[in-house]
């Protein structure tokens, strides 16, 4: 079965705008949740998931490098200082907090999963999203990578790797579907090959990305997914081959423009 991409969004935390109709839902949310919800709104809009069948057959696969680490640290702070812990703060520190908010706000009642992964988180989520559509468990799903990193990691990296790229909190989000009529692209193949190493330093790991003929090198765990998403959004008429190599693994993704989109 072919899996299609019908919507794509990528953004940085600094650029995210929360639509007014979502502000009430997110008044107590942390940045990790806000990124996930804002990205989902960008790809789903206000009109999606009208029928009961749509709601139950739509899923979410969110993968993340560090999860809501700033909120984890806030919880740790309360515990080490023996302060009363806010139930809201604790519930937002759980790794699937963003997925829970997204499912609640957009009434998504199908398969929802959060995953934590240090090696190409977005592509691991994409692999699971494709697999579950092919299996028939869902007919569509949001695939996201959400990163807020944390002030702690930012501080550590500035001290240990002052020359390296700054990690930029943000999100990449695709809406996958088995329905070609709304598709912009079809996913032709995805392979992820692991390297047999125990020595990868994830704080400074370099990724070498090739998108067709263009090349980048960077150290930001979200950047490959953002670059790919932005390139696909700009150029909907050409096939795309994305190869990203790091010390830990190599990803190869081949995407074609959808026939229906070109008509």
């Amino acid at each position: 079965m072919t899996v299609f991409i019908s919507k794509i969004y990528a953004g940085l935390l600094s650029d995210i705008e929360i639509p007014s109709q979502l502000a009430r839902h997110l008044r107590r949310a942390d940045d990790f949740i806000r990124l996930g919800v804002a990205a989902a709104h960008n790809v789903l809009g206000d009109e999606m998931l009208q029928t009961s069948e749509e709601k139950c057959s739509c899923g979410i696969f969110l993968s993340t490098f560090t999860g809501p680490m700033n909120t984890n640290i806030d919880v740790l702070k309360e515990i080490v200082h023996l302060n009363p812990l806010s139930p809201t703060l604790f519930s937002h520190s759980v790794a699937n907090s963003a997925v829970g908010y997204m499912a609640n706000i957009f009434n998504i009642q199908g398969c929802t999963m959060s995953c934590t992964e240090f090696e190409f988180p977005f592509f691991r989520a994409l692999e699971q999203g494709m697999c579950t559509i092919e299996s028939g468990l869902v007919s569509s799903c949001l695939v996201l990578q959400v990163e807020t990193y944390s002030n702690l990691l930012k501080d550590v990296r500035q001290k240990q790797y002052p020359e390296s790229d700054e990690w930029q909190p943000g999100v990449a989000c695709w809406f996958l579907t088995n329905n070609e009529t709304t598709a912009q692209f079809s996913i032709d193949s995805l392979t992820i090959e692991n390297t047999d190493t125990n020595d990868c330093n994830y704080l400074s790991c370099e990724e070498h990305v090739t998108l067709n003929q263009e090349k980048w090198s960077h150290q930001d765990p979200l950047k490959t997914a953002r670059l790919l998403s932005e390139n696909l959004s700009k150029n909907k008429k050409s096939p795309m081959v994305c190869v990203s190599r790091a010390a830990h693994s190599t990803v190869r993704l081949e995407i074609s423009p959808s026939c229906s989109w070109q008509l």
Partner: protein, 402 residues
């Protein structure tokens, strides 16, 4: 119902380590004896917890000398995996280079919560970097994939308390879709002050031994554990392993209701049960037992029993919770409970819910209290999990050992 032609997914090994016992059979034996082994661990929490004493545990397939520094969640997972590999008759040589999927659920196993590091950092000192290095070296599935030398899909599912169930369900899909030839799946979680205090903040902690489904239940007891299945497509049993059972169906659905509380009618769980029955291609009447999530919190037990009733399961089907002997082991719970469900099916009788002496009359589905046990009328059962975020997951498991 349209019939799909999918391979049967066979369980060829299982393992678990809980506070009740260092192996699956030891945990099973504690369940038969209704033995409750919880205690207050002052360094962790002020209320009773189920803490695993793994000091005397040994490996039969793995080797301690091969292990890099690792956290307690990984340690628990390795004991469960070692038992499962041994039971399946698999050596590391059998696994190396093979397409072996690894799906593991956890909650705190993949978070950074080193208090000493945090305090030094907060005070502007330069902390010892070792805890942070270990955090980055201790992704649960990545660490174990590299240790076992296996190739194949891997995932760490962090779906809160349904993580272990989802890991087994996802691995079933991988096998059906041909992404791997063998899969190791389940959950692991160590006790943490973060989770214990978090549940306390939500007023979900019992000050005494937990009493799932009891009219006087106060809440849950935190626990730690690991539980896994080793699974393969039944058609490919080239090493002629005895099938110990089957993962026949998987269903997952969301409440889309509240970040932490279950939907009062268990809307998502109803959907998940129906989806799992459809996936298993069986009828409700084929179910002979339910191993419930049964945390012992007032809201969970009401919503869960309501959902099972609404899903149309016959009230004569015995429903229990095993958390009275394991505690709520969070990301491990789905893995541990899948193992205990399979053991129950293979033994043909079910033990009542430890801690439940007077079932709550407000529950909408009857449960088996501690003093009772029942012979099972079939070989297919349900193991189900509910989680923060409104996620609900159901496995349908068939016994295999005769």
């Amino acid at each position: 119902m349209s019939k799909r032609i999918l391979p049967e997914i066979s369980v060829i090994g299982y393992g678990c380590i809980t506070a009740a016992g260092a192996t699956s059979l030891a945990s099973w034996d504690a369940l038969q004896q209704r033995r409750v082994n919880n205690k207050i661990i002052p360094s962790i929490f002020e209320a009773p917890c189920f803490y695993v004493d793994e000091e005397n545990s040994t490996f039969q397939v793995l080797s301690k000398s091969d292990l890099r520094p690792h956290n307690r969640t990984i340690s628990l997972a390795l004991f469960a995996i070692d038992e499962a590999l041994y039971q399946a008759g698999l050596t590391l040589e059998d696994l190396r280079g093979k397409r072996v999927g690894l799906a593991l659920g956890t909650t705190v196993g993949n978070t950074f919560h080193n208090e000493a590091y945090y305090m030094q950092w907060e005070n502007g000192e330069i902390p010892d970097p070792a805890p942070l290095h270990q955090y980055f070296d201790n992704n649960l599935a990545l660490y174990i994939q590299r240790l076992l030398g296996i190739n194949g899909p891997r995932v760490v599912i962090t779906n809160a308390c349904a993580s272990g169930t989802d890991a087994i369900g996802l691995a079933k899909i991988w096998l059906e879709q041909g992404l791997c030839d063998l899969a190791i799946a389940g959950g692991a979680d160590a006790l943490s002050r973060v989770a214990c205090n978090g549940f306390k903040s939500l007023r979900l902690i019992a000050g005494e031994s937990c009493r799932p489904f009891d009219k006087n239940r106060q809440g849950l007891n935190p626990g730690e554990a690991a539980g896994v299945f080793i699974m393969e497509r039944d058609e490919q049993s080239d090493h002629k392993k005895l099938s110990l059972g089957f993962v026949k169906g998987y269903g997952i659905a969301g409440d889309a209701f509240h970040p932490t509380a279950p939907h009062p009618q268990g809307r998502g769980l109803q959907l998940a049960i129906r989806a799992a029955l459809l996936d298993a291609q069986i009828n409700r009447q084929d179910i002979c037992m339910i191993n419930a999530h049964g945390t012992g919190t007032p809201s969970n037990d009401i919503a869960e029993t309501q959902a099972v009733f609404e899903a149309g399961i016959d009230p004569s089907v015995p429903m229990v919770s095993t958390k009275g002997i394991t505690g709520h082991t969070l990301g491990a719970a789905g893995g541990v409970e899948a193992v205990l469900t399979l053991l129950t099916l293979n033994h043909g009788h079910i033990i009542g819910t430890v801690g439940c002496t007077h079932p709550d009359p407000l529950l909408n589905f009857p449960v088996i209290p501690e003093a009772e046990s029942q012979a099972l009328a079939g070989i297919i059962g349900i193991s189900q999990s509910l989680a923060f975020g409104g996620s609900n997951s159901v496995l349908i498991i068939e016994g295999g050992a005769q």
